[in-house]
């Protein structure tokens, strides 16, 4: 109780700010936490220590938001009371906000388990304050190097965070990512990965590294899933993919929306079906399922939870405006952007859009986007120049609209098709009016551009009602 009293001032301030922001509609996913931590630095560790079963941390470059949502959904269905930073605010301030919001005014938490998504660079700080039962690392791709320094450094930060996992806990690592699989700790380590599907997915040479990080030799790949994820072995130093404990051994599309995957566990096989599009989401589904199984959740609960789940959050979202559809994709690094491009051309997803639908790309270079936009040159925009994919116009916008226009020019796209319009509102209106009735406008944007776009679209949708 004494502990709780000491952190009350910060807690109250945070809670006050949260209730205030409910009235003012002024987004508060990080500021309450920052205020609370500023006044009472120990508020996060005090609140987290009350969780009966500790916390699950989820980190990595791509897929942490989706994986965390999936896992939180499964665990809630299994009857656990969860604390989850679902807004995607994953720095220490965002994590604190989630806890402050869940606590009573006297600092009491009524929950069993935390499912916490953590920014890679914040791992050491967050892990040291929470009672970590398990940690899940999805993958590691170059992402905002201007912020994190170099990849080596990011790996080091994650690894330091993993030291905070309790002895009786476990690590769940992606076996297909050579960098992640190279993490060695004394804690029990479980691997997950995709097996070599019969129906191989053709992958173009992508920007991620396929060079052994330890000795510089090119990896021998039996199969590449995407970027540097796959079944690898290094001819130089002998590093190789560990055999996964949990894997997807086969997968097929039941209909346009539904995917069925066959999960292999140490004790057997079982099929799951879900409506989450995109190849990269297989990893997220598998990660969440493995983690749930390790926490003792029953298969039938997992299946039921996945069946209900639809991916209309995070990096991909579809909205209808005046008989036209608008699909938003968040892009933030070469691998994610390549996956988004691939999703555009995936059978059915683009639909008739390959013929006659425009595209809008918006790139900002604010701090949250990464101030360096060099990575655009590592994205295979060359895929858009294929003559059979008839895109009439590509609109380029954002604070670095010039850069993305230039990138498209060098990807071999006819410059007459490239339209630069710095103002995002105008670019959106132009591209929407260029979209034929009943068609779909595809929009690829960086983080802060996506936030702007949500506001623009929000106004349009409510005005239409």
């Amino acid at each position: 109780m004494g502990d709780r009293l000491k952190v009350l001032p910060g807690l109250c301030l945070g809670k006050m700010y949260i209730s205030l922001s409910k009235f003012t509609h002024f987004g508060g996913s990080t500021l309450p936490g920052r205020l609370a931590l500023g006044l009472s630095p120990r508020v996060l560790s005090m609140l987290a220590s009350q969780l009966k079963e500790g916390c699950i941390l989820i980190t990595g470059t791509n897929g942490k938001t989706t994986t965390a949502h999936l896992l939180a959904g499964i665990l809630s269905r299994a009857g656990k009371k969860i604390i989850h930073n679902g807004s995607g605010a994953n720095l220490i301030s965002g994590v604190t906000t989630a806890f402050v919001a869940e606590s009573s005014h006297l600092g009491k938490i009524n929950a069993d388990l935390g499912v916490i998504e953590v920014d890679e660079a914040s791992m050491p700080a967050v892990a040291s304050r929470l009672n970590v039962k398990a940690a899940l690392v999805t993958n590691l791709f170059p992402d905002q190097l201007d912020r994190f320094g170099e990849l080596e450094h990011t790996l080091e930060l994650i690894s330091r965070g993993l030291d905070g996992v309790k002895k009786e806990g476990f690590l769940l690592l992606n076996a297909d990512d050579p960098l992640i699989a190279s993490i060695k700790k004394e804690t029990r380590t479980i691997y997950y990965g995709l097996e070599n599907f019969k129906k191989s997915i053709k992958v173009k040479e992508q920007a991620g590294s396929k060079i052994c990080y330890h000795c510089g030799k090119k990896y021998d790949y039996l199969h590449v899933h995407f970027a540097h994820l796959g079944l690898y072995q290094c001819p130089g130093c002998g590093a190789r993919r560990p055999l996964p404990h949990y894997s997807i051994v086969s997968c097929h599309k039941k209909n346009e929306k539904n995917t069925v995957a066959n999960i292999k566990t140490p004790t057997g096989h079982f099929p799951v079906s879900f409506e989450i599009p995109g190849f990269y989401n297989l990893y997220n589904v598998l990660a969440a399922i493995s983690c749930a199984l390790l926490l003792g959740v029953r298969e039938d609960i997992i299946k039921a939870s996945l069946r209900e789940f639809t991916a209309d959050f995070g990096r991909r979202r579809t909205i209808s405006i005046g008989g036209k559809k608008v699909e938003l994709f968040l892009i933030k690094n070469p691998v994610g952007a390549n996956e988004a491009l691939r999703a555009l051309f995936e059978g059915g997803t683009w639909g008739g859009a390959a013929h006659g639908m425009p595209l809008l790309l918006a790139v900002n270079d604010k701090y949250a986007d990464g101030i360096d936009v060099s990575w655009l040159w590592d994205v295979d925009f060359e895929a858009l120049s294929c003559p059979d994919k008839k895109i009439p116009k590509i609109f380029c916008s954002g604070t670095r609209g010039e850069e993305i226009s230039l990138r498209l020019k060098y990807a071999g796209i006819d410059i007459k098709k490239i339209k630069h319009e710095e103002d995002l509102v105008k670019a959106f209106q132009d591209s929407l009016s260029c979209t034929p009735a009943g068609g779909k406008l595809q929009v690829l944007l960086t983080y802060t551009a996506l936030q702007e776009m949500r506001k623009i679209v929000g106004k349009l949708v409510s005005a239409g009602d």
Binding site: P142, L145, D146, G149, E150, L151, E152, H153, A207, G208, S209, K210, I211, Y213, H214, C215, G216, K217, K218, P334, I371, D372, S374, W375, L376, W377, D378, R400, E402, E403, S405, L406, R407, K409, Y410, G412, I415, I418, H420
Partner: protein, 256 residues
């Protein structure tokens, strides 16, 4: 008349050697190779790019231009150092033959004499350039602009730098440009990069060449001068390039 010219164009060819692609595709540096290849193609050249990885033999026969990418982190720098030392004599030979060589970041450091790591370990360079590097504590990261002299004209060059290595030039070595905004080689002497014969070493990512088309053409011109003496470079429309260039200058508050 027009037909003959077209037939002549058909025979024009440039061969590029691209060292360590993929290894370093983190900073968009492959944009340099894309820019050189596209700007040659738009002028009617056919282009051949030979990717060379660690351990591969350097095929310098009929190479017209060499692009060496960086490498990231000290582990990769060591790997590249070891590999470059095996290719040392070939690269020296190309440089003396005035074949243009573009080396970025760690590539630039390792064409020099040596790099000292924070632990005091000495990573050997191939000694082509009269420069040496000491790893500092501070990460020099941010947009950067230079003024450089290219073929008699002063031009602005923009890019993005991200390095902890501080590189110093020998007394005789010529810097590539003068820093207008940013850190440059070491954050101290206002110099950026180095030029030796037709070898250009620089810290600039961004990537460098697409946003500085005059530099891309300067390198192409050097390659063409060797192979097709007296040939002039066709002018290209640089509207998109200049717009992106000026945006960087504006960000750095340098645009007049």
């Amino acid at each position: 008349m027009k037909k003959t010219r077209n037939r002549n164009l058909h025979r024009l060819k440039l061969n590029f050697l691209h060292l360590y692609p993929n290894m370093t595709s983190y900073y968009g540096d492959r944009g340099n190779m894309i820019a050189l290849a596209m700007r040659a193609r738009w002028r009617g050249f056919s282009v051949d790019v030979t990717n060379t990885f660690v351990g591969d033999k350097l095929k310098i026969n009929n190479a017209d231009c060499i692009v060496i990418e960086g490498g990231q982190g000290s582990a990769q720098r060591k790997i590249i150092s070891k590999d470059l030392l095996q290719k040392r004599s070939e690269i020296h030979y190309c440089a003396e033959k005035r074949i243009p060589i573009l080396a970025i970041c760690a590539g630039f450091q390792l064409l020099g004499k040596y790099c000292l790591t924070p632990e005091g370990e000495r990573v050997q360079g191939i000694g082509l350039l009269d420069v040496w590097t000491i790893t500092g504590k501070k990460r020099m990261v941010g947009p950067i602009a230079l003024e450089a002299r290219l073929g008699g004209f002063y031009k602005t060059i923009v890019g993005f730098e991200n390095h902890t290595g501080k590189t110093f030039l020998g007394a005789e070595a010529l810097p590539f440009g003068k820093v207008l905004k940013g850190y440059g080689n070491n954050g101290q002497d206002g110099k950026e990069g180095v030029i030796y014969k037709n070898v250009l070493g620089t810290y600039l990512h961004g990537p460098l060449l697409p946003k500085n088309p005059w530099l891309a053409d300067y390198i192409l011109k050097k390659a063409i001068d060797n192979k097709y003496p007296g040939m002039r470079l066709k002018l290209l429309n640089n509207k998109f390039e200049t717009a992106a260039h000026h945006k960087m200058l504006k960000k750095l508050a340098l645009k007049r």
